[in-house]
């Protein structure tokens, strides 16, 4: 546990001091502030303002996650930085889990910064404290954690570009899965069964998307939230476990 904490801490520090991260974050914050301008155009329509703000946080959150996570393990193998760590009493699973938490802390930190801007804009425009918006952002952070686990999994055995493309493909499929399954249900037959099988293996990322609900002041039940949380945790543990197995087999 001590080693995981030390690796997380160092990963967080390294990530948070990246100048390119600041540039992306600055754009994210600027995007959030643009909401003030949009509010004027939308004549104070809260649905529009909230949609725009939450979408911005989501997009920039994912961009930051990809930027920080795509090469996280690969880079350290290529640059031999891991040799410093692996020659100490540290297991490879410590490294994978430590990297995950460190990276998640950095991504969560930047997401929360953007969330602060969003909440301030909503409050300024007369929407009060947007509890539901905060709930949507929390779920989005869950998706970011999920996405980091996917990136670490791919990064443990493939090059950054391959990791990014594979992870983005999963992100895309993960958000389309609900629609595809519904279409397959209508078609029926073997295709439906194939898609049902795939839906068990592939992550359904729409479970984390509360944005469409909260902009209309709708929420989800506590039970549903718990199920989604459990779903994310299960997938993350599975991905990190598989990532560790692959990383253990990796020749250094």
């Amino acid at each position: 546990m001590k080693n995981i904490l030390a690796i997380s801490k160092i990963t967080f520090k390294e990530a948070i001091r990246d100048k390119i991260l600041y540039a992306i974050l600055a754009f994210g914050i600027l995007f959030g502030l643009l909401n003030l301008f949009l509010a004027k155009l939308a004549l104070g329509d809260m649905v529009m303002i909230k949609s725009f703000g939450l979408a911005g946080i989501y997009i920039f959150g994912i961009v930051i996650t990809i930027f920080l996570g795509a090469s996280i393990i690969y880079k350290e193998i290529e640059k031999k930085t891991l040799y410093f760590v692996l020659s100490k009493p540290v297991s490879r699973s410590n490294i994978i889990v430590g990297k995950f938490f460190g990276l998640f802390a950095a991504v969560a930190f930047t997401t929360l910064l953007m969330a602060l801007i969003y909440l301030a804009v909503i409050a300024y425009e007369g929407g009060g404290f947007d509890y539901l918006g905060l709930l949507a952002i929390s779920f989005q952070m869950l998706e970011e954690a999920f996405f980091i686990a996917i990136l670490i999994f791919f990064s443990s055995f493939s090059a950054p570009l391959t990791s990014t493309i594979s992870a983005l493909s999963l992100l895309f499929i993960g958000h389309l899965l609900d629609v595809v399954i519904k279409s397959a249900e209508q078609i029926g037959g073997v295709l439906h069964q194939i898609f049902m099988f795939l839906s068990v293996i592939l992550p359904n990322l729409e479970k984390f998307n509360l944005r469409n609900l909260v902009v209309h002041n709708l929420s989800i039940s506590f039970e549903t939230a718990l199920i989604v949380l459990g779903y994310a945790l299960l997938y993350i543990i599975l991905l990190l476990f598989c990532g560790t197995l692959l990383f253990k087999k990796r020749e250094l």
Partner: protein, 235 residues
């Protein structure tokens, strides 16, 4: 004691280390010599448990280095590795220290940085360090846990003459304190000065392992090394 028996390692069809066995006595300074690509680094990586050999075994005081408890008493300095560039020297050394069971204080880290001559730069990010300073930091992290066994891969590479002399002095002091030092090098002048035992590897095969003076037969190490390697090349 470090006991390496019948190390074998291949990458694809290329045999990088071929049946290498070494016995390094406790308290000695052992220099592992060879040309670039001879198999020195791979042997060292296997000895510290970073890379698994295809066959063969290694024990340090009877325990395998893959055993986490045996790593508590190992220090390893990799060759020309990159650091976490956005950390400061002090942050990096503290991080390395935190990975051991033994609790270490900031004073301990600062003392090590003073010993290797980069104390003044301790709060600067590593990205602004020169090659020599990074080499010193690499050395510092290898001794952060006061290890009994220190593995150094080309420790004097990239250092100016003054820096080399300082690091050599530290190596001698560490050895006087009873630590065993295993280092790879192709700077034979320094090896001759430091090592009482040497091993010579050529194209993955061990050519010699034993006393430095016996190998030299009265000649300088560099001269004798070239003679032996050339003989091997024309055999």
């Amino acid at each position: 004691m470090i006991e390496i028996s019948n190390f074998k390692k291949s990458y694809g069809n290329e045999v990088v280390v071929d049946n290498v066995s070494l016995l390094i006595k406790k308290g000695s300074i052992f220099g592992f010599l060879g040309q670039n690509g001879a198999g020195k680094t791979t042997t060292m990586k296997m000895a510290v448990g970073i890379t698994n050999p295809d066959s063969g075994d290694v024990t340090i005081d009877g325990k395998r280095p893959t055993d986490e408890s045996s790593r508590e008493k190992i220090g390893f300095m990799p060759e020309s590795a990159y650091f976490y560039d956005r950390l400061t020297g002090l942050e990096f050394i503290s991080f390395c220290g935190e990975l051991f069971k033994k609790k270490m204080t900031e004073k301990h880290y600062e003392k090590i940085l003073k010993n290797v001559g980069i104390y003044e730069a301790r709060n600067k990010p590593i990205r602004v360090y020169s090659k020599g300073m990074k080499q010193r930091l690499g050395f510092a992290q290898a001794i952060v846990n006061d290890p009994e066994y220190i593995f150094l891969d080309e420790p004097l590479d990239g250092l100016d003459p003054l820096g080399r002399r300082e690091i050599k002095e530290i190596i001698k002091t560490l050895n006087k304190e009873g630590r065993t030092i295993f280092f790879n090098s192709h700077i034979l002048y320094d090896t001759e000065e430091l090592c009482n035992e040497i091993g010579i590897i050529h194209k993955g095969k061990l050519l010699y392992a034993g006393n430095t003076k016996e190998f030299c037969e009265g000649k300088p190490l560099e001269e004798q090394f070239i003679i032996k390697i050339t003989e091997k090349l024309f055999l």
